[in-house]
């Protein structure tokens, strides 16, 4: 597809990485459900193993269907490449495990998905990797938390569930001044709302389970490298700048000036930890991405209507969406997220725990479940589910109370969503009478 201008986002969402199958002419991307790929000769086999020729060997390392997904997400994010993983958590783990080992340190936002918080706070500490948590808006805190052994700064584009917008330009500047990369979880925004590399992030990952897939059908993740971080100049990453005995004594930064991180992540992390994606899953996520621009536009339109409705209800104490001037990230969201700050947000009822329960159980259109980013509207009570392992203090740090309700606004008619919420609010209010 030669052309004189950059392909637009919507075109890339449909075409990046995919062309009609040369063997069959199939226009849709085929699902290559095969573990392995036949070598043409012994020399071909050796060349593939030694990275002398491009191609696929074994589907844990790479697969043609997955490669289309990887190219497509990399294209949408503006990255040099991507790796599809078994889940968003697998993508986060792959990023961390590629960059560091025992004795390393991470500085992370307090406003994280509960699973990420668990990984950093409990699980990785067991493997000798420590994390210091900093409120996303505490700029001095980010700077002060960096140590000589810090290997990564990490936050979410909009923190779950308070929608604290990460000041990526400022935090990435702090990271780069210290020779440390910034990893951003962009799950809740998708590249349609923000492309973190354009603001200074170095690595981006998604739980593709959410908006990229968009239909609540599969679990998957994608890790993307912007290709801009100076691993050699940093001096903190012998994993990438020194010979690696585990793979042909390769020095990844010499092998690839812009793709060293992805090379090691695929050749070590996918190979050894094995958290790869099924080609069938990759295909389903590709189907989702093809309509990502259309869906995100509708998600944003519906969200605006629901936020405006909730903000006007006397039984609602607070609506936590940056659309509202009262939100602490309102100004930053207008700057970094002009198309909207996502369709997942929380609000607080003026009621007790029982009234919150009544509210959720009265909803009919909203589904009560532990997911976000579905085409259907969803609801959950974070304190008793996604964030239940956190102490009250940690909950408060993440902007969550016992009465917080989290919504994920879907693609239904906005009037139906508002009617559903109206009925549930009325029932909850009555339950307290």
């Amino acid at each position: 597809m030669p052309g004189y201008s950059d392909p637009g986002f919507d075109t890339l969402a449909l075409h990046a990485g995919a062309s009609p199958d040369p063997a069959t002419g199939a226009r849709a991307t085929p699902i290559h459900l095969t573990t392995s790929f036949v070598f043409e000769s012994s020399d071909h086999a050796a060349s593939l193993f030694n990275l002398e020729r491009g191609g696929h060997v074994y589907s844990r390392i790479s697969n043609p269907t997955n490669a289309v997904l990887e190219q497509r997400v990399a294209a949408l994010e503006g990255g040099v490449g991507a790796i599809a993983t078994a889940s968003g958590q697998a993508a986060l783990h792959l990023a961390i495990a590629t960059l560091m080992g025992a004795g390393s340190h991470i500085v992370a936002s307090t406003a994280l998905y509960g699973g990420s918080q668990n990984l950093l706070h409990y699980t990785l500490s067991r493997f000798g990797i420590e994390t210091t948590f900093v409120k996303p808006g505490d700029i001095d805190g980010w700077r002060a938390a960096i140590r000589p052994n810090t290997k990564l700064l990490f936050g979410e584009t909009v923190g779950n569930p308070g929608l604290d917008v990460l000041d990526i330009p400022t935090v990435s500047s702090i990271a780069h001044a210290a020779g440390v990369p910034l990893l951003v979880d962009s799950t809740l925004t998708s590249p349609w709302l923000i492309r973190p590399f354009e603001h200074g992030a170095d690595l981006v990952y998604h739980s593709a389970t959410k908006f990229l897939s968009g239909h609540g059908t599969v679990i998957g993740g994608v890790l993307v490298d912007g290709g801009s971080f100076d691993w050699d100049g940093s001096g903190r990453f012998p994993e990438l700048t020194q010979p690696y005995d585990g793979f042909h004594s390769m020095v990844f930064t010499e092998e690839s000036t812009v793709g060293a991180f992805l090379l090691r992540a695929r050749r070590e992390g996918l190979r050894d930890f094995g958290a790869c994606m099924s080609p069938h899953t990759a295909w389903l996520i590709l189907q989702g991405i093809e309509t990502l621009p259309l869906r995100m536009e509708r998600h944003m339109r519906n969200t605006q209507k629901v936020v405006e409705f909730l903000a006007a209800q006397p039984f609602v104490a607070r609506v936590g969406h940056p659309l509202l001037e009262s939100h602490p990230s309102h100004a930053l969201a207008q700057k970094l997220l002009p198309r909207g700050a996502g369709s997942v947000f929380s609000f607080d009822l003026k009621g007790n725990r029982e009234q919150g329960k009544k509210f959720i159980e009265t909803l009919k259109v909203f589904s009560h479940l532990a997911n976000v980013g579905d085409c259907r509207s969803l609801v959950i009570h974070p304190a008793s589910t996604t964030h239940f392992r956190m102490t009250d203090e940690a909950l408060a740090g993440a902007g969550i109370t016992q009465g917080t309700i989290r919504l994920s606004i879907g693609l239904e008619d906005a009037d139906d969503l508002i009617d559903d919420l109206k009925r549930a609010l009325k029932a909850a209010e009555k339950a307290g009478a």
Partner: protein, 274 residues
């Protein structure tokens, strides 16, 4: 890798993961404007593991190499001659892409029998660069880099390439260009390289002076160096009695990453000839 002192400055040479062995034939890979050795990752690594000494260089003043970036094709050719002397290589094959193809061609003319094979990937003569692009490379390098990337691309679905499956060649080109530009704070190597391409006038004379066989590896959809723009060189080479081979690759100007296999096969088969 090897760091070879050339003209008093260190020259980075990627060797494809193999140590230099004087008993083997040598092939030198020369990159184009705002590129470095890594654009040859697959082809250079393959040749290194199939009987060749590989010196995939970063040109002076680019990325890992010190020294002053060549301001003309002739200066680049002088550097190649000095590199071979410094490395103790009596005879070598030269493989160049775009600007690197002009440097390789001029070096082959000067070094005559010391060059065993010449491979010109994505070449043209004259290699004129539009005044707007030259101006943008100096004053709006990000805009110029974007233009070059768009003109260089021929597909939205490149095959598995140097970084492995999942590589997005377009952004990789942008990221590499930015890094190469940043690597030399003293000189805008983007602008300098384009001016060198645009001003080179010795192509046809070079074809008459060299003595080695020549492979033209041309991208059928190349908008940076259109295949038609290589016809004059091909005719000059034939007129001078050179052994000329032509490989038509089904891609644009990113031959090594958009058609890594076809580029490798053309190179391998040509270099495999005595």
């Amino acid at each position: 890798m090897m760091l070879i002192e050339v003209n008093g400055a260190p020259t980075y040479c990627y060797t494809g993961g193999k140590p230099f062995d004087a008993a083997r034939p040598t092939v030198v890979f020369i990159h184009g404007v705002l590129n470095d050795h890594s654009v040859w990752a697959l082809q250079s690594r393959y040749m290194a593991n199939h009987g060749w000494n590989v010196l995939a260089i970063d040109l002076p003043g680019h990325c890992r190499s010190g020294g002053d970036a060549p301001a003309t094709v002739e200066q680049g050719a002088d550097f190649i001659a000095a590199l071979l002397d410094a490395a103790g290589v009596q005879r070598a094959a030269l493989v160049g892409h775009s600007w690197g193809s002009l440097i390789a061609m001029e070096a082959a003319a000067r070094l005559k029998d010391r060059i065993s094979h010449l491979v010109l990937v994505g070449t043209a003569f004259p290699m004129k660069v539009s005044p707007a692009l030259i101006e943008a490379s100096l004053n709006e390098p990000e805009k110029a880099l974007r233009m070059v990337n768009v003109f260089s691309r021929s597909t939205l679905a490149p095959p598995p390439s140097a970084l492995g499956p999942g590589t997005w060649v377009y952004s990789a080109g942008m990221a590499l260009g930015r890094k190469v530009l940043r690597s030399n704070p003293a000189v805008n190597v983007f602008h300098r390289g384009f001016v060198a391409c645009d001003s080179y006038a010795g192509g046809e004379a070079a074809m008459a002076q060299m003595t080695c066989p020549v492979l033209f590896a041309l991208g059928a959809q190349d908008q940076m160096t259109h295949p038609k723009a290589a016809q004059g060189l091909i005719q000059a080479a034939r007129a001078a009695g050179r052994d000329v081979r032509i490989a038509h690759l089904p891609v644009g100007h990113n031959q090594m990453t958009e058609a890594p296999e076809e580029t490798l096969f053309a190179l391998r088969d040509f270099l495999g000839r005595g």
